[in-house]
Symmetry: none
Subunit: 125 residues, 2 copies
DNA sequence: CAGCGATTTACAAAACTTTTACAAGTCGAA
DNA sequence: TTCGACTTGTAAAAGTTTTGTAAATCGCTG
């Protein structure tokens, strides 16, 4: 029984990043990230929509409460700080969708040479 | 009758600090701390929630009975005195969560090989 | 009324957010 | 391909809010 997402709680987890929405805590390689409130909210918003594009407009509305009439670059600055704090994974996790917004992408193992065996294993799924 | 932890009683203990909630006594490096009532209550509240952020609002409510309409700096002053009385460990035990509250963190032995994440966490940038 | 603990006051300092001013990058049209 | 308009990246400066701190004041209680 895959009990669906009740509300907004199921923690995110991959090889390097862990995010507990309930506690409001993010771990990078098992070490707590030191995030400001806005940084956390921004990251949480992106991670909660993992794999999906979140338009600038939406981020500015939900994290900042800004309407589309407001012109600001604070979102970009925060994205930059987040990427920095995500270290080597920053650019991989947070992708820029030009003209639209940003997308958080789950970490994927950098496969080297996909062997026949792995291909088979994948195919069997 | 040694009634086990019925409610909120299990003593806290780490390398330097010991807190007996039942007796209302705290030992720092085995020496009894001299705490005023408010100081003790504040410390107890934090230690009881070890590792978790306790919002200012909650502390002000539970220790002082203040509602969110009250604006005061007495919490900060008490935190400061507590830190002072905790000596060298003050800042380590009681962490400030900017814009939110405070967190009591169990004492941890200093680590060796710093990873990227540890470096970041230390840098706080 | 003395003494102690709690609270307020008044700044100083720190942490965080936003803006500014360009640089760099993207994309479509000519 | 090159140009031009527009979008995003970035560093640093400004601005804002929150927290730290010392000292003064308040209020009990003995």
């Amino acid at each position: 029984m895959t009990e669906p997402s009740v509300h907004r709680a199921a923690p995110y987890r991959d090889e390097h990043l862990e995010l507990d929405f309930e506690r409001g805590v993010a771990l990078l390689d098992s070490i707590p990230m030191v995030l400001t409130r806005k940084e956390y909210e921004l990251l949480a918003m992106l991670v909660a929509n993992e794999g999906e594009i979140v338009p600038r407009e939406v981020l500015l509305l939900r994290v900042w409460g800004y309407g589309k009439e407001i012109r600001t670059r604070t979102l970009d600055v925060h994205i930059r700080r987040l990427r920095k704090k995500l270290g080597p994974y920053g650019d991989r996790y947070i992708q820029t969708i030009f003209g639209t917004g940003y997308r958080f992408q789950r970490y994927r193992e950098p496969r080297s040479a996909p062997s026949f065996a792995t291909a088979l294993a994948a195919a069997r799924t």
